[in-house]
Amino acid sequence: MSDRRKIVLMLVPALIVLGGLFLGGLGIGLARSLNWMPVIGLTEPNLDAYRAVLTDPDFLWSFALSFHIAFTSTLLSLVIAIAAALMIRRTGRGGALVRFLFQLNLTVPHLVGAIGILYLFSQSGSFARLGYQVGLIDRPADFPALVFDPAAIGIILQYVWKEVPFIGVILLAQMQTIGADYESAARSLGATRWQAFRHVLLPMILPGALAASIIVFAFAFGAYEIPALLGQNHPAALPVLAWRSYTDVDLAARPQAMAMAMVIAAMSLVLILAYLRAARGRIGGRR
C-alpha cells in the first residue's frame, strides 16, 4: 500500500465525522436558512430568512447582548487570568494546594457553575442574605438584580468564574516554558519590574493569551445553557433566541432559526481565522 493511500485511510473516519457531520450540519443549516430544500420542492434559494432576521429588532438586540456577554467576559477573564498567573507562578510553600484549587473548576461543567451563581447572586441568594444580616437591605427586592438582569451580569460572572482558570492555566504553562531568564535579562539591562512585564513577558505570552481568549469569546458567544438559565427573557442571548425560533410551533420560523445559527457560525469563522493568526504568532524555536 502506498504511503498516500495509507494516510488517506487513516484520515477517512475522522473526516467522515468532522467533514460529514460537522460541515454537513453547517451546510444543511445554510441550505435551510436560504429556503433551499430540493427534497421538498424548494429549489429557489432566497434570502427571505436573513431579511426577516436582520430587520428584526429582537435579533439585533440579541446579537448585541451576546456580543456584550462574550466581549466583557473575555476581557475580564483575560485581565484577571494574567494577574492570577503572575501571582501563582511564584507561590512557593502551599503552591501545590493553590494550584489545585485554582484549577478545580476546569472540570466543573458550566451548568453547575451557573446554578452556583444563581444561588449566590439571586435576590434571595447567599449575598442578599448576607446583605440583610448586616443591615444593608430589608427585603429580597432591595438586592440589586444580578441575575436575569438586562446587563447580563450573572452570565458574565459565571463565564469569568469558569474562564479565569482556563486562560490562567494556559498562561502558567507558557510562563513556565519561557522561564524567568528573559525578565532577568531585561531587569539587568535596566528595566523596572513593571517594564520587564510590559515590554518582555507580555509580548511573549500575548499570542497564547489571545488564542485562549478567542476560544473563550467563541464559547461565550454561542453557548446556550448559561443564558438560558441566568439570562432575562427579553432580549435573550442569540443562542437562546435561535433555540426558541427553532422549537417554535410555527414551522415557518425554522429558516430564521437556521439563519441565526449561520450568523453564529459566521462569527466563529472570523474567530477561527483570528485564532490561526494568533497561534502562528506564538514564540517558537528559540528559547
Binding site: S184, A186, T192, R193
Partner: protein
Amino acid sequence: MTRVTLDRLTKHFAGADGASVRDLTLEFPCGELTALLGPSGCGKTTTMKMIAGLIRPCSGEVRFDGRSVLHQPPEVRGAVMVFQNGLLFPFLSVAENVGFGLRMRGTPRAEIAARVEAMLDRVRLPGIGPRRVQDLSGGQQQRVALARALVTEPRVLLLDEPLSNLDAHLRSEMRDLIRDLQRETGITTILVTHDQEEAVVLADRIALMFDGELRQFAPAAEFYARPRDRQVAEFFGGANFVPGRAAAGVFDCALGRLPLPAGAPEGTGCLTVRPENILLAEPGDAGALAVTVIDRVFLGTQTRLVVLAGDLTLVLIRPPAEAARLSPGDAAAIRLPPEAVWVLPERP
C-alpha cells in the same frame, strides 16, 4: 571602573532552583577581567546573579567600590548580565534589542539610534540593526547580546558562559572580541565558565569554585604551577599524583627523595608533576629514574607515554620526535625537574 567585593556571601536554595553558595569572600579588581570557574552546579551562576541583583543572598554583602549594593534592584545597580545563549528578545529587531536598556531609561529616540548603530559597529556587525534576531547565527546573536549590554555603559559586565554554545571557529573569534572590548572599555568584567581553557585565555585572574565554595583565587599560571589541592590540579588537566611526605625542601616517596621548589607546602600529601613537564633522560644521569614504557599513543602534535616506575604509573607528554624511539616494553629513564613539581597537602 568599579571594584566588586563579595563578603561572606551565602545563598541556600530549598529545592532544585539553583546551586548554593557558602561564605564566599572575593574581590574582583577594578577594570580587570576575572573568571569564575568551576564545574556545573558549583554556584558560579548563582554568584553572578547575586552580583547582578537578580537573586537576593541569604547573608553576606556585595559591594561596588566599597558601598553595599544589596538594597539596589537590578535595574539601577549597573551590573549587566549577558546570559548564556544571548537571550535576545525574539519579538524585537536587532536594533530594538540593543536599544532596549536605553529605552527603559527613557533615552531620546535619536540618541538611542545613534548609540545602537555605533555599538553594532564595535561588535563588528555594522548595518545589522533592522534584521530579525531569528535570522542571526549563534555567533551573531551572542555578539548582539554583548552589544545590548555594553550600550548601557555598565559599571560591571557579567558574562555567563558566552562561548559555550559556539563552535570552535566562532569561539576564538568571540574570545578575541570580548578581550578587545574589555580592554578598550576597561569595564570590570566577570566571566562565568566551566571551561578552564576559556578562563585561562580570557581572564587576568581566575576564581575556582567547587560545591559553592571558593577553592583558589589566583592568576591563571598559578593553577598550573601551584594548584592548591589535588581536585584543583585535576580540574586543570594535572596528572601524576605520588603520595608521600614533604619536609625541609625534600619529598619522600616511593620514587625516592625528590628536591622541591622553594615555597612548596610541607607535610603529608601528594607530589604532582604535569605530564608535559616530565623529561626523558639517559639512564645513569644524575637524578634520573629508571622506568619501563607500557604504552605509547600518538596524539598529533604530541605523544603520550605511560611508564611504570616501581609500582607507580606516570604519564608523560613529549614531542613525537623524542618519544618515537620508545616502544612498550622498553626500559627508559625520566627526570622530574625540581621547579616543575609541586606538593598538594592533604585536605583536612
